[in-house]
Symmetry: C2
Subunit: 387 residues, 2 copies
């Protein structure tokens, strides 16, 4: 256990500087410490939710005394309340914000859990068996961690029956039901309401950019696949965006600062429209979501005349990068197999097919928050087992 | 019908300038026109999806000839393809992007369908009856349009039975299922996993900011409400943000440019975390989403030491504005009543209650894309009837 070696009040009690036994230091503001006090009047012991409003924290809050207790805890006496609260040293370490990584970062950065990839992933595409992920929490945890890391994974040995895809979603989260249903058929139709339901090749794309909020996970399972062609392709758009930023910074700037429009009106009872950039960044420049879909882009109408050519130049450059062979991971789904993509990040497409044989896939949407929550719970339990 | 009076080629065929009979002019780029060509080789006649990739549009695309046909259509011959495509004058008018409104706007702007409100809405809170909205498309259309405009509406005369809230969602869209279920109980519990399940007052808030994507609609229906207190409060956070921007531009700047963190771990099987700003703007400064929730904010850890005080100052100012009486619309739900809020915009809360009597609400989440799609379809049908 990493203890505290020193504590110091700064800025007339508005700030406390903490030093751990390994020499790492961090400053904390009195307002932050008071707002995050773990005592039972501030945080509900049962559910961890905060019981006070920010207005219940005095604006003039300061620290009267800060003391290290047993090397492992920090005791703070707050003014003007004269309230004494004890913080755990490990919790403070985990939640310190006075660190270089919070300085300004280059636009397009991603957090350390994200690993970008190209064609080399083809040989080591993450995979789990349905039975293994269902019965073994460790295998499920590994599979979900791979999805967080790479944004894509396969599953094998699924029941070859209609709707089994929903049972995969139940392993970690919840179906996002849409106008396409809880799950939907992807096979050649006579009057297709979506080009996915044809034998045409499909450029790699993220699904449903015309929806807001966009579904953040997509699953595609295979029930039949005896056609020539119809191979699946996935590309890491975060990798493509990184290349774009390096090779054409102006294009990256354009696509991340100009709003695009997406639309779908494939059936008479649906008129979906959204307005979002192709490259969505957080306010601190973090790369959050890519929306890339030639079938449902536009008409783009919320960009000024002066910037429209820049937008199209950037779009063409990004599209070219998306099709580079060295970025494409290709595989052919067999009956009983499924792949899942983080639809905010990994584009997918398919090679065209025709002729004899049949190809029958089913698709479903879900969301990342449920997946990340299940993974976090599994990881915490895993740690407990080790201890 | 508004026809075309003139057409002119500019920039050596890279741009076409169109003039309508009322004198309005707009320029279109050749690349934009080609990418949005409505011919059956470019757009699928069946479902409106684009059949070509941007790479299929020649980079050197230009206009060889542009001709007005019958005052109502624009015929374009594209180079180098020598492809002739006919555009509808009304479609061009609707989708023109060469307009002053696409110039830079002040951060925090919203589109013209949004009407901000304060306490005055209490006297004219939009309302529909369940039966009316179920049986009369015009009443449903009006109710949905009010939700788009104000972000809040009531419904009356619902079946007073558990789960009826799902039938309201089915009128326009789809349930967003979460760890709380397809719908959830909001009443006093002995060991509440969420402070909502107590008799405590709740500061106005948006729901589930710890979820990403956040549910964009929330519904709360009433089955019993015989307690003293327990009144519902709603506040237009877009109004609050507008006031913040006027009174404290630095606070607006801080909350829209610094990422906050939200967390929920109320039950052992859920660990939800998100990182998003309190005030989320689009890349063109459009106000998109407010996340405001004192119970589930933080610890905030992705802001630098230097900016943390600015963040807390802004948060306090926004919280103070959120509680101004002149912004609060208050009402007491009766059994058989429901209210719906746009959870990206309208905060809701409640007055505390205790003592005898019972209060039993049920809640559910859904998403705006489904609602907007249903509304757009109803509006289009409405227009067809008028014609």
């Amino acid at each position: 256990m990493l203890g505290l070696s020193n504590v110091k009040m700064l800025a007339e009690g508005k700030v406390v500087q903490v030093e751990w036994a390994d020499g790492v230091r961090a400053r904390f503001h009195a307002i932050w410490l008071r707002d995050n006090s773990p005592d039972s009047e501030t945080l509900s012991p049962g559910n961890g939710q905060r019981l006070v409003r920010i207005q219940d924290v005095p604006e003039e809050v300061g620290v009267k005394a800060a003391t290290v207790v047993d090397d492992a805890r920090l005791e703070i006496a707050f003014l003007p309340e004269n309230k004494v609260v004890v913080f755990d040293a490990a919790w403070l370490r985990l939640h310190r914000y006075d660190r270089p990584s919070n300085a300004a970062k280059a636009a397009g950065w991603t957090n350390e859990t994200i690993v970008r990839w190209g064609k080399e992933l083809e040989e080591k595409l993450p995979v789990a068996s349905f039975r293994g992920a269902s019965e073994n929490p460790g295998e499920l945890r590994g599979w979900l961690a791979d999805i967080r890391r790479y944004g894509v994974a396969k599953m094998t040995d699924m029941p070859v029956e209609s709707g089994a895809i929903c049972r995969v979603v139940e392993l970690f989260g919840f179906i996002r039901e849409t106008n396409y249903g809880r799950f939907f058929e992807v096979r050649t139709e006579v009057n297709p309401v979506n080009l996915a339901y044809t034998g045409l090749g499909l450029q790699v794309h993220t699904d449903n950019p015309y929806r807001d909020p966009v579904p953040t996970l997509q699953l595609l399972s295979c029930l039949e696949n005896s056609v020539e062609g119809g191979d699946s392709v996935v590309v890491d758009s975060f990798k493509a965006v990184e290349i774009l930023r390096e090779e054409a910074p102006d294009a990256f700037q354009a696509l991340s600062s100009l709003p695009a429009n997406y639309t779908y009106t494939g059936t008479g009872d649906v008129m979906l429209k959204s307005k979002r950039p192709m490259i969505e960044l957080g306010p601190d420049g973090e790369l959050l979501t890519v929306r890339f879909n030639n079938r449902s882009l536009g008409p783009v109408t919320d960009i000024s005349f002066e910037q429209m050519e820049t937008f199209y130049d950037g779009y063409r450059k990004l599209a070219d990068i998306m099709e580079r062979p060295e970025l494409a991971v290709t595989f052919k789904l067999q009956p009983g197999e499924l792949f899942i993509v983080d639809n905010t990040r990994v584009t997918h497409g398919r090679v065209g097919y025709e002729g004899s044989g049949s190809r029958w896939l089913q698709g479903a949407y879900a969301d990342l928050d449920g997946l990340r929550s299940t993974l976090a719970v599994l990881e915490q339990k895993g740690e407990c087992h080790v201890v």
